[in-house]
Symmetry: C2
Subunit: 376 residues, 2 copies
């Protein structure tokens, strides 16, 4: 009974997610574990929880496939038409929808190295070839990417701000990049961390929706605090969205996610509070890194990539013993880097205490004699 | 800015879902609308609702990608290993996973006509060729399907009981079908309606899991009453599941669906009550059909396919005016048939009253002189 697995799947290295809290508790027998590994919002909106309670009586009914009411609400909020929006089971699913809608089997996906791994993984699951371009100083090299565009290039993924580096490409760079692109190429700006940005020159990609072949990805998993419910969206011109709607599964977004997102859009206070938390706490962690002489990449998102100066897996494991889950960067090929998500003040404090212990254990003061500010 | 859409998506006719209640209320200005169109359970488990309430505090965290605890619980329930189970965002998603895991680009998917349309649609979205075999008397023709197997056939989908006909293939037919199949062919038994079956000769497909290339699909959308949450599962040998796990997206099943399914497995009382409701009410609707001389297909599921004797779209539309949503069979090419889901007693009564009015309006007594029992 020898059954062949497809080459796409046989060869695939799947995405490795941040370690769940329950798993760490289970494996290490710990009672108190904090997770700063998956760029989640540590807060939960009370308004959203109440909306969910009211929706529980309808769980036996299939969700509205088109997300009709949610689309209307979000369109109003974004000053777009409902026909400019499509929802997915997380924005991950929309990456899949984009690949299926735009990239023929013999066409290629182009993106950066050291970026959200799902662009590459999802393209490969679908049997599409992926070309990646190195970064400059942990930042997307849009010029280098543009130089790599050839007859076969169909879709370019740009994470902005980028995960896992936290860096961004600015308005001028995006303008130059989009200028004179071949008319068949579609550029995806994945703006999952958009709401945390405080750079003045961050690009307003919405201005390109009708002028260029641009699709913007956004999510409710980050600042809106709905990672567990799985809901993200894409905005684009109607001509793009109508075909993407054909490619998505009929009931892809569950009804509680729809109800939660509907309530989350109205909870402006929660979004402001979450943003303020991240911006304040980021300064606090930067300060600690500076004092410790730890090399880090200034971030426009709710996480910070830093150089722990020793093996990423061993730091990850030692931090676990203190009940702190961070993200090792092995899958990204960064041997000594760690990504930490900004949590609640007490969580960040605990992270700092644990990291001190882990790094100072063997008398190490990582990168104390390096110029830490020079990375970006 | 001419951007080409892929041929797979450009040519696709997407799945048309049952009309949502809210949409009908909106479009027809009706206040009381009942939906008997999507084979949902009309009941909601109180135990599940309570479990969901307890899980609301964690919606900001990504779901456990592997569904660890749920897998353990279901494995115990089914007396299998956790490694024999994979969960999907509805069993629809697992159809996609199966196609990607087993069917190469130049291989083919084989199934029946007049069955769940997603087998064909999902295969086509993935650019795979689909071959369909006609039914005999509204029933899967397993012999005919076996005859169509060729060198390129890789996956065969068998919905059992079948949707939209409600018919089933029995243990003997399945045994004969699996006997001597080419070793490279994988057979998928989609048993979404399994828990409603009362036929004594319904096949125990689990007995084939280690002997044949068999995958069983099940869902929490039907008898468990969780259609809105999107969770289904596949069971198969470990060697199959391990590759399917690679092909699924990392956070495909939301955390509330996991919590709900966990609670639903324990709520045996709810499952029994739901089954009893369907079996009792089916008799009641059969009796009405018999009295009216309406031709119907005896069903092993929670829905009944019947011949309304007039245009399916017009019956659907006229039923809507009475606030009753049923399913027209236009997409399946059955011009005068309607599929009705078995609802609560009051809903079924309302369906009957509405149908009487719609069919008797023009003095029609449909198929009064046909032998209605002869279809199966």
């Amino acid at each position: 009974m020898k059954t062949k697995i497809t080459k796409n799947i046989f060869d695939l290295t799947p995405y490795q997610a941040g370690k769940p809290i329950e798993e760490v508790k289970r494996e290490l027998g710990l009672k108190e574990v904090i997770k700063l590994a998956s760029n989640e919002n540590p807060l939960v909106s009370v308004r959203v929880k109440n909306a969910l309670k009211s929706a529980l009586g309808r769980i036996n009914r299939y969700p509205e496939g088109s997300c009709f009411y949610l689309k209307e609400k979000l369109a109003k909020e974004l000053r777009l038409k409902p026909a400019n929006i499509i929802f997915g089971n997380g924005s991950d699913e929309l990456i899949d929808v984009i690949v299926k809608t735009f990239v023929e089997k013999d066409e290629e996906v182009l993106t950066s190295q050291l970026t959200f791994l799902e662009y590459e993984i999802i393209s490969k699951v679908n049997g599409r070839k992926v070309v990646t371009v190195p970064q400059h100083n942990f930042k997307y090299d849009l010029k280098g990417i543009k130089n790599k565009i050839n007859r076969k290039t169909k879709v370019v993924f740009v994470a902005n701000p980028n995960n896992p580096t936290g860096t961004y490409v600015n308005d001028r760079e995006v303008m130059d990049f989009l200028d004179g692109l071949p008319p068949n190429v579609v550029v995806i700006f994945d703006e999952a961390y958009n709401e945390f940005v405080d750079a003045n020159d961050f690009p307003n990609t919405r201005g390109y929706l009708n002028k260029k072949n641009v699709i913007i990805l956004r999510t409710f998993s980050k600042i809106y605090g709905l990672a567990g419910l799985r809901i993200g969206y894409a905005i684009a011109k109607e001509g793009f969205i109508s075909f993407m709607e054909k490619a998505r599964p009929p009931f892809n977004v569950n009804s509680l996610a729809q109800a939660a997102a509907f309530a989350a859009i109205s909870d402006k206070e929660f979004v402001l509070k979450s943003r303020k938390l991240v911006l304040n706490e980021k300064k606090y962690i930067y300060k600690f890194f500076d004092e410790m002489g730890i090399n880090y990449i200034p971030s426009q998102a709710n996480f910070i990539l830093f150089d722990a100066g020793k093996n990423t897996i061993s730091v990850f494991k030692e931090m676990l013993k203190y009940g702190v889950i961070v993200r090792d960067m092995k899958q990204y090929g960064l041997d000594t880097f760690i990504r930490v998500t900004i949590g609640k003040p007490a969580e960040n404090k605990r992270f700092i205490e644990a990291l001190k212990r882990v790094l100072l254990k063997k008398g190490l003061t990582p990168c104390a004699n390096r110029n830490c500010a020079s990375v970006v």
